[in-house]
Amino acid sequence: MAIVELKNVVKNYGGHKGSKDSANAVENFNLLTEDGEFVVLVGPSGCGKSTTMRMIAGLENNTGGEIRISGRDVSAVPPKDRDIAMVFQSYALYPHMSVFENMAFSLRLKKTPNDEVKRRVNEAASILNIEHLLERKPRALSGGQRQRVALGRAIVRQPQVFLMDEPLSNLDAKLRVDMRAEIVKLHRKLGVTTFYVTHDQVEAMTMGQRIVVMLDGKIQQVDTPQNLYERPNNMFVAGFIGTPSMNFLRAKIASDRRALEGESFRFKAEGARGTALDTHTANEVWVGVRPEHLRYVEDSGHGAGLENMMRGTIEVVEPLGAVTMVQVQIDDARVTAQLDSHVQVTLGETITLACAGEKLHLFDADSEQALGLEQPVSEPLSAAV
């Protein structure tokens, strides 16, 4: 178990100026984990999440900054001396060795006594329920079993830090959900500080105690799953976290600076959001609304005059059983709404949707940064670095 600290970590592949390698692959990455924390790095492909993990592992050198594991700067330490274990997306098992030998490999290299090797491999195998597979070769295993062996190989080493690079990406959907729960359980049992890389925001939300959202090599936000959902720092995080994605509408700020308007919607800016608009110089903002926060309103004939409502034509109806997804054309945006399945809607119908004022998100029209964020419940730890 260990505290991992990344201070101003930079990765640059040193390409020629102007080429695609010249930009920083990872820029000023700052993070301080708690002891035994489960941190998820998430973002679209090419965002630098894997590179960051590979720098923690020592498979890539950091171009700048410090990486500390339990206080020791490991930037110049080779992977084998960092006291970490890594699980690869491809499992990366040794094909010519039995499951037992795969798991025992690191111990054998350390010249661990035979009975100790046996004890530790058996222990890990029993945690993962793979005792019956120990004599098999990797090619005789299913994908899920191989993933367990890869986890077992990491557990056997009793490392200070676990690094998992998209470990579930090669598994089918059902197995992925099972293994997700199992890895979380395993983490709770062993209490080892864990870094987990994924591009899947559902995986990130369900597994991470804290999530690092990355884009273009930069951290966008470091927070708990709940805070990411409720208080996204910017439009990227807002759109990335949550399924279906948040809807964004371009709105004009009314002259009293307390309302946000479009041709077919009008929202009231309350509380911190309203205060933020007072000092905001631009005339337009982005309004973000999550599909699950939109309500169907029985048309009372009042039209779009009411506060916190929008009107539009239904373009797509997708009944999913428990809920019905509708896509509504509001001004020039396609808004997705998640409605109760008992609401009867038809294609082409004009409907009114409402959203509670406190569920709205405001973003600067240019910088796309959030406006009027209420103080988060817990201070993000990265700020304390």
Binding site: I84, F88, Q89, K110, R153
Partner: protein, 274 residues
Amino acid sequence: MTESRLTNTLLTLLTYAVAIVMFFPILWMFLTAFKTEQTAFDIVPHFLFTPTLDSFKLALAQGNGYWHYAFNSALSAVASTLIGLVLAVPAAYAMAFFPSKRTDFTLVWMVSTKFIPAVGVLIPVFMVYKSLGLLDNIWGLTMLFTAMNLPLIVWMVYSYFKDIPKDIIEAADIDGAGTLQTMVKVVLPLALPGLASTGLLALILAWNESFWSLTMTDHKAATLAVFIASFKSAEGLFWAKMSAASVLTVTPIIILGWFAQRQMVRGLTFGAVK
């Protein structure tokens, strides 16, 4: 339907014809080896004749005797292959797993040395060997065979190493294996079928080599290629004996190839990835 069946039949016949044309010289060599010199020289080809082992008996005793040449061939082929592999494995390992900006160039350059006809460098090599006293020396010849095959061995081993997923090397790295341990315990076992077929090819090329054998050796270090050539002497051509000598030369390598082929096809599959 009938047209495609006709095409099929014609293609099959063509295949047989090509195969027979290609196999015929070998067949003829085997047949001639069991003939007397007289039948062998006859203008009218003989497919049916009374076989005799006389040519073999005479061929075995030719010069320093068959076994002298066979020993030289075996020693130079095996030694050059082993030395080649020992030199090529670390080179290919570095190029496959720690490539630099010049790796591609180096590979192409190495192979490009094979573009030069051997005869183009004969004189300088001969002079150097003469002054070093390596003429008609089996180790001198082995060194030439090694140099001759090295680019090919490096290239082949490199491509087998490239097939090993990088993740496995990184996993070994994290598990605590040093470069040598990764090579010996992970990479070599995985590349073993590739190394075996590379070694076999190098062995065959060295065994069959005749240009350097004929020019750089005399009696002491002479190989089977020299042995065969010795039947074309001032007194004339001895077809039957030459054929017998050829049969004695190609048989070991054909048997070896036959066994090794089964061994290699069994190759490992990368069950660990995907």
